[in-house]
Symmetry: C2
Subunit: 326 residues, 2 copies
């Protein structure tokens, strides 16, 4: 049995083309975002779209709800697709929806996107008052049912409090250390130490705004950053959450940033001069470039075993203990 | 392994008291109605209420989604609870919701309640034009995912067309033959022959409006009717769907009849003089009286094996082939 390749965050404009590229790249599982600002009913419509994908492409993809599905996908030559939210808007103000969305197969939920949510604070707010009352209640419920807390877009204090309040390890599915590239969305050494000390996982992002030198970031720089993170936090806590947004029109990044919360334009990590999706680095264009990442990790000094862990084995271990009732 | 007792239709005002009575009566599984006129989001709120029940009463009840759960419930001394709708309103006008509600554990859906729906005609309409275009599409989708078509409240032509159009056996979960008691909601010999010839199941109702002599119906009359039905349709196609509405306030029967579709009062099977829930027959007050029914079937000439089938074994066999992808 080969150690599976898992990408723990993608938001592509999925299609038969991309599902075939996942197979070409040997990707056994992906965690895909199915909601940013959607309410419950709108999120369900997105799930319906995925059900149609599973019906249309049964030889390429399968619905993933537990760790065993990753290995089942590998054995049958398919990619298992796991669902997550980048914002808690689909659970509205209703804690009962935590179990419902878990029953529908959702396995990750960010407590906030860039703004304040009902649960926690996003990285773009001026003030971060920490977890809300509902935030603490929802963390306990997520712990109970096996829905993973993801703090990728949340602010520092809220993130530290979530790590502390959760009785189960949490995840930062797609971000990089801010000591490598000081973006608002990247994470402090304090957060990353607290996260990994509590058994949590960090998924490194390949979204250019999270990379040193953006789209021009070199593979060597990226992989040496991972080597430094392995020294600080242990290689077994590290994985990939590429944040690949392949084939999305720029209207989608506007939806991600603006939703329905403002009538003004908000450029998020972009700018008025460059409002759209940035170009991916040439050494990781899409799902066919996982071997390039493997070569880069080798060159940065990782053993084959460590590399296998970072490219999927560590996420698989995390899946094994995170998705069922606690 | 004992043949399980299954009641394939209840709409009680469930509580710890009723869950304890289910155990006292030795009921291994029930199919409960979780929606009449609710839209999708409202139905989900009802599911949330059931999730709270499962969390609160883990030693009495468990969520049932497949036939094996009936035996698991029996082995662990609990009652498995399966979900169904008496109207297709929770799938709104969206065929994608068929698979979504199945993923949420729903296993039965009536194509109509008493009125015309988007799919089929109810027994109280003046005209029955048969299955609609969406009705035919939804039957195919229900067949695909393993959601059982229930025509208990539907009109004659729609019911015959559903039996014919469905590629899998369907159910009439709670009704009686109209040759025994000619209520609008009871079923013709033609319908019952077509149903059972196609492998479908009939669940006998104990709701007084469906009984000869109403609340004064004798156990003997009820059980002799079942014996006649066994002669006509075969004992293996018969089960119970008691329609027990224990502890419901009369406001609930008004909701069932009127929903939001009219501003007038509609008394359904009741009347202005007797608008509320009728009293149950004294020999079947609640879930503690299943032995009484067993005795009655014995007195009507059924063998122990046939009685086991009618009280649960036949529904179990139907569950085994009906709830998974076709």
């Amino acid at each position: 049995m080969q150690v599976p390749v898992i990408d723990n965050l993608q938001y592509c404009n999925f299609s038969g083309k991309i599902f075939r590229q996942l197979r070409e790249g040997g990707v056994d599982a992906i965690h895909v975002t199915i909601a940013y600002h959607e309410n419950f009913r709108e999120m369900v419509a997105n799930l319906e779209r995925w059900n149609r994908f599973f019906e249309t492409y049964p030889t390429l993809i399968m619905r993933g709800t537990c760790a065993a599905d990753v290995m089942k996908a590998q054995e049958t030559g398919r990619t298992a697709v796991f669902f997550g939210f980048q914002n808690p808007s689909p659970i509205e103000d209703d804690i009962g929806l935590v179990e419902i969305v878990h029953q529908l197969g959702v396995r990750f939920m960010q407590l906030s996107y860039n703004n304040q949510s009902l649960l926690a604070t996003g990285a773009y707010e001026d003030e971060d008052p920490g977890l809300t009352r509902m935030g603490r209640a929802v963390i306990a419920e997520m712990n109970r049912v096996g829905l993973v807390i993801d703090m990728s877009h949340s602010a520092e204090r809220s993130t530290l409090e979530a790590i502390d309040h959760s009785t189960r390890p949490i995840a930062i599915t797609h971000a990089n250390p801010d000591w490598w590239h000081p973006a608002l969305r990247n994470k402090s050494d304090t957060v990353l130490r607290a996260l990994t000390n509590a058994g949590g996982m960090l998924g490194f992002s390949l979204y250019p705004h999270h990379l040193a030198d953006g789209s021009n970031c070199t593979r060597q720089s990226f992989c040496e950053m991972i080597a430094e993170a392995a020294d600080r936090y242990g290689a077994e806590s590290l994985g990939i959450g590429s944040d690949l947004c392949q084939d999305q029109p720029d209207s989608v990044v506007t939806w991600m940033r603006v939703g329905r919360w403002t009538k003004e334009m908000d450029y998020g990590e972009g700018s008025a001069a460059a409002p759209g999706f940035p170009a991916m680095p040439e050494w990781f264009r899409d799902n066919r470039d996982w071997d390039s990442l493997r070569d880069g990790l080798h060159d940065a000094g990782f053993t084959a075993e460590e590399t296998d862990g970072i490219l999927g084995g560590n996420w698989l271990r995390f899946y094994e203990t995170s998705f069922t009732a606690g």
